[in-house]
């Protein structure tokens, strides 16, 4: 199979953009897993719910920017609500991992079906028209690279947040040693709540970008969750850079498969990558390091 330069640019460009959107979901998942030990199967729902809230608000005639802001606020509230109403009921229980995994699966079922009831099928967020440029002979809507740039910006923001602010440091501290954090005055329950909120916002933003570039459906959430789990595991649980690296890898594999082999093979290719990585390196690409 021969790949032309144009195709290559297209594949790599799309792969990196999709990869950086996925990174937002995966980083949200990884943050929540790191701090609370919750394998949040409802992570992708924060993306689809946020996206659909914006679709709904725009449909009501509200402007795009206020709708997006409202959607993101909603994501934060939804994240905190999930932690308070569901996850917090399992603190201190045996089998915490298992219980929260299935409980968040229950949330996914609820969210997916609520969206189906309210919105039916496929929807898109009408992105702003910011023009297009010609790259390697094809016209590219500037919204695509802009979305990628926003995603990257958010990731950098998160990095700075977790290194240089007390709240961010406290999240890492709780993830690292909860007892230690408690003894130096960290109210870990508050950090749990905030972590869920922030994880939901990161993923919610990915939902906004995803909804503008692609189409949202009630099952988009589950698909993104599957991607995110794959990424987190491929990248090595707890490794920020491993997660980003794995996101881009998965984005590229997905883009390549969709263009060159056929989109029916997308999931197959991605799970095959996951499988190979895990069989070769059971702790992920960068397992054990941060």
């Amino acid at each position: 199979m021969v790949v032309s330069i144009e195709q290559l640019v297209f594949i790599v460009g799309n792969g990196l953009i999709f990869g950086s959107i996925l990174a937002l979901v995966a980083v949200g998942l990884s943050l929540i897993f790191g701090v609370l030990d919750v394998p949040n199967f409802a992570q992708g729902e924060f993306a689809s719910v946020t996206g659909f809230v914006i679709v709904g608000l725009v449909g009501l005639g509200i402007g795009l920017v206020p709708s997006i802001i409202a959607g993101i606020v909603f994501a934060f509230v939804a994240g905190v609500a999930v932690e308070r109403l569901v996850i917090s009921k399992f603190y201190g229980r045996d089998e915490f991992l298992l219980l929260t995994f299935f409980a968040t699966f229950g949330i996914t079922i609820i969210s997916e079906n609520v969206l189906r009831q309210m919105f039916g099928g496929f929807r898109q967020i009408p992105g702003p028209d910011i023009g297009s440029i010609v790259v390697a002979g094809t016209s590219v809507n500037l919204l695509r690279p802009a979305a990628g740039a926003i995603a990257v910006g958010m990731l950098i923001g998160l990095y700075i947040f977790t290194r240089y602010t007390y709240m961010g440091l406290a999240m890492r501290a709780v993830a690292d040693d909860r007892r230690g954090a408690e003894m130096i005055g960290v109210n870990y329950e508050r950090i749990y709540m905030l972590t869920f909120g922030i994880g939901a916002v990161l993923t919610g933003i990915s939902g906004v970008l995803y909804g503008m570039l692609f189409t949202l459906s009630p099952t988009s959430g589950v698909a993104l969750t599957a991607f995110a789990f794959t990424i987190v595991v491929v990248g090595g649980v707890g490794s920020f850079f491993g997660t980003i690296l794995a996101s881009l890898l998965i984005g590229l594999v997905d883009s390549f498969t969709a263009t060159m082999v056929g989109s029916r093979w997308r999931f197959f290719a991605i799970f095959a990558v996951l499988f190979i990585v895990l069989v070769l390196r059971p702790e992920g690409l960068r397992g054990g390091s941060t």
């Binding site: 897993f33 995994f101 595991v233 095959a272 499988f275």
Partner: protein, 326 residues
């Protein structure tokens, strides 16, 4: 006061005393009902009740690895599918159905063993994701190779019973009795297994891996054994499900099925083998009961799942056992 406690109060302790006092009578009544059911209920319900036994068997693919060995396995749906599809493929190849079921079971066990060999080196969420990926790959495989698997159109499966037999007794009644017997066999088998040294070794590995190693338990070997057993029981259930249902298609074996299977285990109680029947009843009958509110059925199902995990974490079996031992 939690809702669980309220529920507990509703069932008066005296009730349990009465049950204990009349154990044999009650046992006889339960057996009689189980035997007479085919003549008492309409055939749609009979189908569901037969399905309850299949889920009751499948529940052990959660009880053994998750409840006892502490392994998060999320490939039960795929194992179930491997059993079901191989049954069809083997009968197509000319094997008699009964032999096909046995071969399908063993074949699923081999698949589980081959997957488990590398997968059980991982644990916790890693193991969960590897097995979840396997489940998705399997469903994808079914869809991507339609010439062999029937693709999304699916495959039809031949009956287990020759027409001579179904001429005398209706097929659904035959399946009911067959699965009732197989289910009882499964419970007895696993009850013995889990209360033997094997079950105890698994619990030790789950509670304290270091201790397990120090008293000479080869944890890796046991984890692989438990993983393979999960495959075997799913394979057997799949081999029986295919002829019973008469038709197979990929979505029957996806992640939702896996979750239903695990839910059967959790609802029944992950450490109480006898609870599996209640687990089966819940995952089969609750969605049926909720059918009248078609649209929001799944939403309620999700809510119930969460409430169950919150208030009955030991499952119905665990709750009954606690009452029983008081």
């Amino acid at each position: 006061m939690s809702r669980f406690e309220m529920l507990e109060r509703m069932v008066d302790n005296r009730l349990f005393d009465t049950i204990k006092a009349h154990q044999t009578t009650i046992g006889a009544v339960v057996v009689a009902i189980a035997v007479l059911i085919p003549f008492l209920v309409p055939s749609a319900l009979l189908f569901d009740l037969t399905l309850v036994f299949i889920y009751g068997m499948l529940a052990f693919s959660a009880i053994l690895p998750i409840g006892y060995a502490g392994q998060l396995i999320l490939a039960q749906g795929a194992f179930f599918g491997v059993g079901a599809y191989s049954f069809v493929k083997l009968t197509e190849a000319g094997l008699p159905p009964v032999v096909a079921i046995l071969v399908a079971t063993v074949f699923t066990g081999v698949v589980a063993y081959l997957l488990g060999k590398p997968a059980t080196r991982a644990s916790g969420i890693y193991l969960g994701i590897i097995t979840l990926a396997f489940n998705e790959l399997f469903v994808n495989f079914l869809e991507l190779f339609p010439d062999f698997t029937g693709g999304s159109t699916g495959l039809s499966a031949p009956s287990l019973f020759p027409s001579v037999m179904t001429g005398m007794i209706p097929g659904d009644v035959l399946y009911y009795y067959l699965l009732l017997l197989v289910y009882i066999g499964t419970v007895v088998f696993f009850y013995r297994l889990l209360h033997s040294e094997f079950g105890w070794a698994l619990l030790t590995i789950k509670e304290d891996p270091v201790l397990a190693e120090s008293i000479g338990i080869d944890a890796q070997r046991y984890r692989l054994l438990s993983f393979t057993s999960a495959g075997l029981i799913c394979g057997l259930a799949g081999g029986l499900f295919a002829p019973f249902n008469g038709y197979l298609s990929p979505p029957m074996f996806d992640l939702h099925r896996t979750i239903d299977i695990i839910l059967a285990g959790v609802a029944g109680g992950l450490t109480t083998p006898i609870g599996s029947i209640f687990g089966g009843l819940i995952v089969v009958l609750v969605p049926e009961v909720l059918r009248f509110i078609a649209e929001i059925r799944l939403i309620i199902y999700g809510v119930l799942l969460i409430l169950l995990l919150m208030y009955l974490p030991e499952g119905i079996g665990g709750w009954l056992r606690e009452k029983w031992e008081q």
